[in-house]
Symmetry: C2
Subunit: 460 residues, 2 copies
């Protein structure tokens, strides 16, 4: 930290009004937040329960439906009001057999997993020459038709970043790489996993084929396998590298998913509620612990903690969205169903279970006093203020659609993409201490918001 | 470190004769060792080459045969003398389909891999109630017949240890657990992986069924899955936990494996050679980088480095054994074939690629001067002397069978059982700096041994 910045921080502390200092009274929101930091058990209880008793909860499948029922039961058991499962329908894609092996010149198997929305190779699989693209840009630059009959290999490498910005750098290889390759004639695409670790656990995730591009098979190799394939190109001395690929996913057609909701009813039902969101569905490879049972545990625990400090002024509505992973279906369905019910402010937790390090809102200019009060309230938990403008997570479409107030409690994403969409997204990877820091920060922030009489966005 | 020990070490240093101090002359063995510490490329070249161009090398399979040919070519290309592939036959077991899922009361899939030498469930699999044993001792204590029709779950947990002693603590759950369970009527056994990490990568490995016990299916769950299964028992409230298990390994009958040998010919062929060993085969899940391509790279690189310092007095014989993982077949075959050819001293590298931290011999009492000289020569690489008696690795049966001299250059095993026998045994997990430290230590030790005129064991 630079000296002039240190001085500025010190000066700011001196001039803060007493009211802006955290109130540590035991029955206050601040007291609840402090208590949560060391003692919260609700978030862990949710997280352990759903990962143990339900496990993977892929969107649109019976596993996700069991997850919804489990969440409904949990919310009811913990005294939430107006608990409901709001169904919607969606197109559902499921994984099949998955096998990749290099057949020449260096025969060996590789660990692969199919990407969501991709096509099947058929049970017999396909064998084709692999064409190597070190980056997404290299693929984009390839001439039209140049991949006819080939398997494209996009090896765009990802590095960890605290704010998750590495996903924006590497993500296109998955999000649209297979479509770009298919548009140039590729019969299939394999990508380096969009992940930052070197384990043999490939990272799945959705991909989208552009209008008019026929979907092809596509999968992600684990990072060590992508490393190995790169080395093969370096050692093959121009010999073609041949891969046999079997991926047999299928579309199940329209199936039912749903959004689970529950409330801590506020004292004044005429005031718009505070919406705290997460998603219940997960990819099928892991047990969906960090993505996103942790988020659901955090927001639900925070709502309970705020209620412990006394019935809040505004209702706190918990939205555990369905079918986020396969296209934000739940977020869209929720917004469509509730667009006419104003939301005071929306917040989402969906970036793992590591500590919150930064506070952002989209009303720092329109309601500077509240922004400052909120930011100041969580400094004691190691959370920094920011001038970045919050844009909200995937599950709060409704706040964006309404043009409403949004807060982002940014989590440390340094480890997140080691686990994201892999078999390793399990309870074993959750740090209970950091999980509780999340609950503490959420309790503090939601507690202030739910007891704020003035409009969140304008302060009026 | 305690004060009196520090004093003893300081005193010892003062009285060492000048000749025992490391000689850093560039063309000396010590100079070669020092150079290897920062610059060795041969070990990495072997390791990268065989893991990239061959990959998994399961004993008795065509993959292992390709590995032998690759090693023969590499040894010839690097100027080794008398390179040969010495074949032997063995019974060969190979993996089939692998699937485990809990069907009630908490349905979800689990990651499992079959243990070597186990039986098949048949393609349809079996469904049975799981009986939980927290430790191996709990299983042993179970009454005879009490597991009739059940699947035994042995959840004996392992902790990392620098010297690998945790393997002795936890290993019996794999080595004989399935046999013990079968003897009490179990239709199958699942164990917690014998491993120290929390990744979704189960650890395979061999198991042995006692005489008269019919082999059953048996597999290892990944550690997070074993954790999850334990939690299910805690939450099931007495309901039976049912598992569907499909494991379809098979015996291929007698197939051919082989030992690859090569030599740095010494100046005096009448002197018994120094035997440096490793194993070429690997389990099929990873690419056999730390187990044990690294060991082969280390011993071969050390032999080359010693030769660089001038033709050694004694021949250095490299033994890259076949079929270690499935029962030390190669080590036995080598000993049987060569028992009448005296070995001066045997050393093996087969505990990963992390740094060597301790020097042990079995001639500290019979040839104290040489033991002290060797130990002192590697202190500069961070290697401690020890009074532990070396017993040698799996691949130097011949030294044990001959009652000969043995040295153990003990590697840091803290990380080893995170990777051991898993898909994660890949090049990505090798630290090049620690690999080079191994080569440096081996170069120094083998260089002294290969230039020692007196009998290694007796000093006469």
């Amino acid at each position: 930290m630079q000296k002039h910045l240190l001085a500025a921080v010190a000066a700011a502390s001196l001039v803060l009004p007493a009211a802006a200092q955290a109130n540590h009274h035991e029955n206050s929101v601040a007291g609840q937040a402090d208590h949560a930091l060391d003692h919260d058990t609700a978030a862990w209880d949710f997280l352990e329960g759903i990962t143990t008793e339900v496990g993977p909860r892929q969107a649109g499948t019976p596993d996700e439906a069991r997850g919804r029922q489990w969440a409904v039961d949990w919310l009811n058991a913990h005294g939430f009001d107006n608990v409901a499962d709001e169904p919607f329908t969606m197109r559902t894609w499921v994984r099949g057999e998955e096998e990749a092996r290099i057949t020449a010149p260096f025969a060996q198997p590789m660990y692969i997993t199919a990407l969501g929305n991709t096509a099947s190779t058929g049970a017999e699989g396909i064998t084709a020459e692999v064409v190597y693209f070190p980056t997404y840009a290299d693929l984009v630059a390839a001439p039209g038709g140049s991949l006819a009959g080939k398997i494209a290999f996009i090896s765009h490498d990802m590095r960890p970043t605290q704010d998750g910005s590495g996903y924006g750098f590497a993500g296109p290889a998955r999000w649209t790489g297979p479509s770009v390759a298919a548009s140039k004639g590729a019969v299939a695409t394999v990508i380096r996993s969009i992940g930052t670790e070197r384990h043999r656990t490939p990272h799945t995730g959705g991909t989208t084929f552009a209008e008019g591009v026929e979907p092809t098979p596509a999968g992600a190799l684990s990072n060590p396998d992508a490393d190995n394939l790169e080395r093969m190109f370096a050692r093959a001395d121009g010999q073609p590298i041949m891969m046999h690929l079997t991926l047999t996913p299928q579309w199940l057609g329209e199936t039912t998913s749903g959004n689970v909701v529950g409330e801590i009813a506020g004292r004044d039902p005429s005031l718009p509620p505070v919406l705290v969101a997460c998603h219940l569905d997960s990819w099928d490879l892991g047990t969906g612990a960090i993505d996103d049972a942790a988020g659901c545990g955090i927001v639900a625990a925070a709502a309970l903690n705020v209620a412990e400090a006394g019935q809040p002024l505004r209702t706190i509505r918990v939205l555990m969205a369905g079918a986020e992973e396969t296209g934000l279906w739940g977020s869209e369905a929720y917004s469509a169903a509730h667009i006419d019910e104003p939301i005071a402010v929306g917040l989402e937790s969906d970036f793992g279970a590591d500590r919150i390090w930064r506070f952002e809102s989209n009303f720092r200019e329109s309601n500077p006093n509240l922004h400052a009060r909120l930011a100041q309230s969580v400094v004691r938990f190691g959370v920094a203020n920011s001038t970045s403008v919050a844009t909200g997570g995937a599950d709060i479409n409704i706040s964006r659609d309404q043009g409403g107030a949004i807060i982002d409690l940014q989590q440390d994403g340094t480890r997140y993409f080691e686990l994201h969409h892999t078999p390793d997204d399990t309870l074993a990877m959750v740090d209970p201490e950091q999980l509780r820091q999340n609950v503490a920060v959420w309790t503090q922030v939601v507690g202030i918001l739910a007891n704020e009489a003035d409009d969140i966005q304008t302060g009026e």
